[in-house]
Amino acid sequence: MIFGNPWGLLGLLAIPAIIILHLFRQRFQPHYISTLFLFGPEQFNQASGSTREKLRRTGSLIAELLAALALTWFLSDPHLYDHQQARHIICILDSHQRLNAKDSKGHLVVDKAKAACQEVFQTLNSHDRITLIQSGIQPKLLTATAVPIANASLALDRWKADQTFHSLQASIEMAIDLKSASEEAHVIVLSDHKVRIIPDTWQSLSFGEDIGNSGIIDARWFNDERGQRISLRIWRKDDNSDRKVLITNKNNEIIASSQLKNKNGTQHIILPITKSNINIAHIQLTESDQYALDDSCSVVQPPRKLIRVKLNNKMAMYKYIKRALASTHKVEFVENAGHISIDKTLHTPSPGTWQLQIVKQSGPSVIGPFLSRSGHPLLQDLDFTGVLWSGTATKSPAQQQSLLQASQTCLISENVQNKQREINLFIDIKQSNLHKHPAWPSLFANLVEWRLRFTPGLQFYHLSSQMTNRIVLPPKTKGIFLQYPSGEPQSLTADLQGVIQLPRSLMPGTYHLTRDQQGTKKWQTFIVHRLDQRSSDFSNCQSNQTEVSIEETGKVQRIRTRLEHILPLAFAIMAALGAWICYRKEQGMGQ
């Protein structure tokens, strides 16, 4: 005997409770008489509620016990077998958004897949089971596993093919796991192309069509030293229509346009944006085709990022450092506090300012080998071979970590305290040739790029749903709100460095970072695109509908039927009603 809900057996506690109540219950069996005066004025033994009496098999007792048993039956759901024999079909529903393309007859592929799936359901018996897997970067079950057909049919109607491009591999692995749990499960993959990476015993039903298409596969807005421009990549295949790409502002005014030239293949278009005060631009391909989702998108103007550097012009290495920094085009030299302060110009650095100090120590001159800290962004891709390094420190200062060292001498060290960072470069420029080495400008380029990573703002302003994003909050800010395309806000809290890492698998749309929950104080905006060349290319699509015939039955998890729900409950209600009627009769109130 297996109990669906063993806690329901606690209902059996009602039985001793009922018996105790009946043992101590005052039972006055009513009798209508005409001779009450003959029983005399004296009181016989009055029945007492605190005296235990002999248990009498009254109707109410039996009915109450039956009601308690029926209720326990209902709650605990006893059954003999946990599994039952039924046909089990696992349907993998390819949920790529490109299933929203129309075929040559104007029918949506996703609708054809749904209809075919419903046809398969109709060939099954009512006790057969369905498991629906929605494919995606993270596949998910549309219902529980092995649900009745009615539930699966409802879930199928609600299913939407709205996932960005992903591999079906994860969904197939999920189906394999589910199939192994069931003895005999038949797996069907519904897609717009024939899926070849499935076992031979599985069935692949495809409903797509190799149609010509034009679509935007990448769109970005650049804002750097070369000015503002929108970069587009357009995919075209067998599309002979004369199409243009239009870029409009929020008032639908065309701010840039370009004619598409090639009929096949990928085109890269860069359109300069000359108008100012445009934050979001809408990109649209003229003319329509069978797949509309890739014909338009939006891009957002990213803020230009510059590293403000306060450089001590009296230092010996001034000209070498300035030349190296200027080559990055991402640096602005300032007199006041900035992102980087070089050579002890700030005695009390403001929060978030990094300090680079050029320090001459009395260590020996070294020519290598140089041991850099693995993966450190400052020393990434740097090769110091051939450098004569003098002015080194014999050991790294207290509370500082060595980033680069040669033998026992420390060449570069750093100290991190919350958002502040102090980097020490131990060098004697008069004796060293580092400033003439190719690693010198690269060292400062790495420093700028590294600092850029910690300037307030986003890592990406245009990304696909499979990319992660990184937010650096402004100084003195601990948290921010992420407003989803649906308008729902989510509170985000930064780590000690003021950084928030956004997860991947964000749904396509426009996201806003706001300083308040209501979304009135917008700070930054970024866009998650649904664009992907693989979503716009229908080359491998085909229609291959074969008849699905499933005969094998296997073990599936038992589901409590409606009768098994209703029967004990009805029995309990009837017994409770009977107990009430019996009680009323016993008390004489029913007459």
Partner: protein, 282 residues
């Protein structure tokens, strides 16, 4: 409304007669021979003529033979007056059989009285006594409701003096006996008390925890055991003895009728008690 066995009552009237006590009936001119002298054709006795006697009654043949004036007297023709008093308290309807039997016995006596040429009167005693004449007794009895609280304890005025009174009741009153019989027995003829009782009233068989609900009011929760039931039976016996004692010397006395049995069994009880006799057609 009581539903008695009217066919059985009708058949019984042809087989039975009221056993009237001629010594106690002095009223009217009827179909039955009285105890005293009267004006019927049947000879009664002779007596000496006294001044003032009707000369037409002198037996001139005796005078011729004995030279004495002798008055020839004839038997009196009488009509018995019957008053049937039916207890319509709620206790009479404790069981439908009890009330039907009581109504059946009542109808039987009324039919017998009418058959004997009497002018019976029916008294239905609820909380007030209702007097029903010979013309309407049948419908009145049919419409009678046993729901009174007083029953025989209600005021019974205008009882006919010297009438024969038949009381049909269960006799279950705390103050039964002398008081009631004294009240209705004054100036009455024969009194017959027909007691209709259920077996459960004579000998209750329930025990344990019971709630006793009196149909005439009152309730009590009791634990009944053998001792309590023995006490009940003792009290019941004393009640019956009180009735018996008060009816002593007043006629047929206390006649028991079992409500669980039918009218035929009750008729046998009545025959046994001598309140009715087998008629000419029996």
């Amino acid at each position: 409304m009581p539903a008695w066995d009217e066919a059985r009552v009708h058949a019984a009237t042809k087989q039975l007669r009221l056993a009237s006590d001629p010594r106690r009936i002095r009223h009217g001119h009827g179909l039955r021979m009285g105890q005293g002298p009267g004006s019927s054709l049947e000879f009664h006795d002779y007596r000496q003529y006294v001044m003032g006697d009707d000369l037409r009654m002198i037996d001139w043949g005796v005078y011729a033979r004995s030279d004495q004036l002798v008055l020839r007297r004839h038997r009196q023709e009488i009509s018995p007056r019957i008053e049937v008093i039916l207890d319509a308290s709620a206790s009479m309807r404790l069981d439908e059989k009890k009330w039907s039997l009581a109504a059946g016995i009542c109808a039987l006596f009324l039919e017998l009285a009418i058959h004997d040429g009497a002018q019976p009167i029916l008294w239905i005693c609820q909380d007030q006594a209702k007097r029903c004449t010979v013309k309407h007794w049948h419908s009145d009895l049919h419409q009678a409701q046993a729901n009174g609280n007083l029953g025989l304890r209600c005021q019974l005025n205008n009882l006919h003096p010297g009438s024969e009174r038949i009381i049909i009741s269960d006799g279950l009153y705390p103050d039964a006996g002398n008081q009631f019989i004294r009240r209705i027995g004054a100036g009455s003829g024969r009194i017959s008390f027909i007691q209709v009782l259920l077996e459960s009233e004579r000998n209750p068989n329930y025990n344990g925890h019971v709630r006793l609900l009196d149909v005439e009011g009152g309730e009590r929760n009791l634990l009944l055991d053998e001792q309590a039931l023995a006490e009940y039976r003792s009290r019941f016996a004393r009640l019956q003895a009180a009735w018996q004692q008060s009816l002593n010397g007043r006629g047929a006395g206390l006649i028991h009728c079992d409500a669980e049995l039918d009218l035929s069994a009750s008729i046998r009880d009545l025959l046994k008690a001598g309140i009715v006799t087998p008629g000419a057609g029996s």
